[in-house]
């Protein structure tokens, strides 16, 4: 697999680490145990197009949100996580 890092360009799979489904959002402070349980444990586990967190740890150390097809491994989009490039926020 090759991933086009939005910062580094196309790189090989070995530079990246997979975390998992990017759809679940961490509940806000004070959320119920049930909500957090859902976030931590339950997965859609989609066979097809899915959105995932990957880490370019072997490169620029950016966390990325990647749309990828789990049936074909084809990647349709790669974008930085919300907090990457924060230096240009509001600029």
């Amino acid at each position: 697999m090759r991933i086009v890092c939005p910062f580094c360009g196309e790189r090989e799979l070995g530079e990246f680490t997979y975390l998992g489904d990017a759809k679940p959002v961490r509940p806000a402070a004070g959320a119920s145990e049930d909500e957090v349980f859902d976030y931590v444990y339950l997965r859609d586990n989609v066979a097809g197009e899915t959105s995932e967190h990957w880490y370019h740890g072997g490169g620029c150390r950016a966390w990325l949100k990647i749309a990828r097809n789990t049936l074909t491994h084809e990647i349709s989009s790669v974008e930085p996580a919300a907090g990457v490039g924060a230096a240009k926020v509001g600029a």
């Binding site: 697999m1 090989e12 799979l13 070995g14 680490t17 997979y18 975390l19 998992g20 489904d21 049930d34 349980f37 931590v40 444990y41 339950l42 997965r43 859609d44 586990n45 989609v46 066979a47 899915t50 995932e52 990957w54 990828r68 789990t70 049936l71 074909t72 491994h73």
Partner: protein, 417 residues
């Protein structure tokens, strides 16, 4: 026809024209007491135990392709019961005991070979962790031995003892562990279950669940029509989330790709099953002579049934680091299976919140060794509506309760289990 050397010799006289189908080619009936979705090892074993142990013979096993086409026929054929945590230890030993009588139970030679499984250790910390685990095994009546370096060297003189990055220090040995011929397990259960009246229906893909007014599952929609059932059991490793979603369920499972490899056949060099403790590599040698080996999952969600080169290289690096004698042995085939990785690395065998629907899932990459045990306890659950005592911790609500069975201690991240 009963299988034996005598029937084989008799058949030879007539040019083997007398042999019949190993299992009946059944067409679906309108209704069964139990429908098992999934014609892999677990599904077929469940059917056989339902018929043989619980007297429930009006059973169908539905398989979307050909039986054994999933992980049952893609694994590295290892059997063992060397687990360390309550829940796993007893269950896998139950399974091991069933392996030990399988061939006689089924009248089918599944080549269960108790050649020993050794987990090598390379540090004091690893030794201590294995000591803890081995003692758990012994306390549960399971055989385990902690070998020191000299004993390992004697048993496997071909390992790299002299210039290894992480020298072997010893190993945890379970002599009763070993291998079995994976396809034969599928065919053996199919053969035996079919003989007891179980319908094995291939090319029959489940597309939905039939629900009654109370939302109870009363059957399945399939590519071969609607099939009614009092109870439906899911044993669809690699498709657990997809099938569960048809019933509106989300599971604590992610599906990952695990690669496996086999080398060209060579004369026997590896006597047992070995796990490298300083890298991702485990190996045994098949009776045919191929080195059957594997390592870690690729690490990303996948239903593609194929992996990528980094893991392939990682596995071979582990192999070469452990035993540089395999350098000139050639890798012959590489393939991938879909592993339903649960959030704690241990399986789920339980009723689901949907009445009439039962779940057997989340085997990670340990499903093969569990085959008979899984079938046994799942049959128990389906027959009695309560978990078998050796599966009592494999409940679906354990994640919510905080009662995870996490052998690796890595938490709710499936690709680390």
């Amino acid at each position: 026809m009963k299988y034996s050397i005598f029937s084989l010799a008799r058949a030879a006289l007539s040019g083997h024209k007398a042999w019949q189908r190993t299992w009946r080619d059944a067409s679906p009936k309108d209704h069964y007491d139990v429908v098992i979705v999934g014609g892999g090892g677990h599904g077929l074993a469940t059917a056989w135990f339902l018929a043989s142990e619980y007297g429930i013979r009006n059973v169908a096993v539905l398989e979307k392709g050909w039986i054994g086409s999933g992980n049952a026929g893609r694994n590295t054929t290892i059997i063992r019961s060397n687990y360390g945590l309550p829940g796993n230890t007893g269950f896998y030993e139950l399974s091991m005991k069933l392996w030990e009588r399988m061939e006689q139970d089924l009248n089918y030679n599944t080549m269960v070979s108790q050649r020993g499984v050794i987990n090598l250790y390379h540090s004091d910390a690893q030794r201590d962790a294995y000591a803890r685990r081995g003692n758990t095994m012994r306390i549960n009546g399971i055989d385990a031995e902690l070998l020191d370096l000299a004993a390992v060297r004697k048993m496997m003189p071909f390992l790299n003892f002299d210039n290894a990055r992480f020298p072997v220090q010893g190993g945890l040995l379970q002599r009763r562990g070993g291998t079995a011929r994976h396809d034969a397990v599928v065919w053996g259960y199919a053969h035996a279950a079919s003989a007891l009246g179980v319908d094995i229906i291939q090319n029959c893909e489940v597309s939905g669940f039939v629900r009654d007014a109370n939302d109870k599952v009363t059957g399945v929609e399939t590519s071969r029509g609607k099939i009614g059932a009092d109870k439906v059991g899911m044993a669809v490793a690699g498709s657990s989330s997809r099938v569960a979603a048809m019933a509106g369920l989300r599971l604590p499972i992610e599906s990952h790709v695990l690669q496996a490899f086999v080398s060209e056949a060579i004369k026997p060099v590896i006597p047992n099953v070995m796990t490298f403790g300083a890298g991702h590599f485990y190996v045994s040698q098949s009776d045919k002579g191929g080195l059957v080996f594997g390592g870690d999952i690729d690490g990303y969600n996948s239903y593609a049934q194929r992996g990528n080169m980094p893991v392939m290289e990682d596995v071979c690096e582990g192999g070469m680091a452990l035993m540089p004698m395999i350098g000139r042995v050639r890798l012959l085939r590489q393939w991938g299976g879909i592993m339903d990785m649960s959030m704690d690395g241990s399986p789920i065998i339980d009723k689901t919140p949907v009445d009439g629907l039962y779940l057997n899932a989340g085997w990670c990459y340990g499903g093969f060794k569990a085959t008979p045990g899984s079938g046994f306890v799942f049959a128990h659950l389906l027959a009695r509506d309560e978990p078998h005592k050796e599966a009592a911790r494999f409940r679906l609500d354990r994640f919510r309760r905080g009662a995870a069975i996490d052998e690796k201690g890595v938490g709710a991240q499936p690709n680390l289990h």
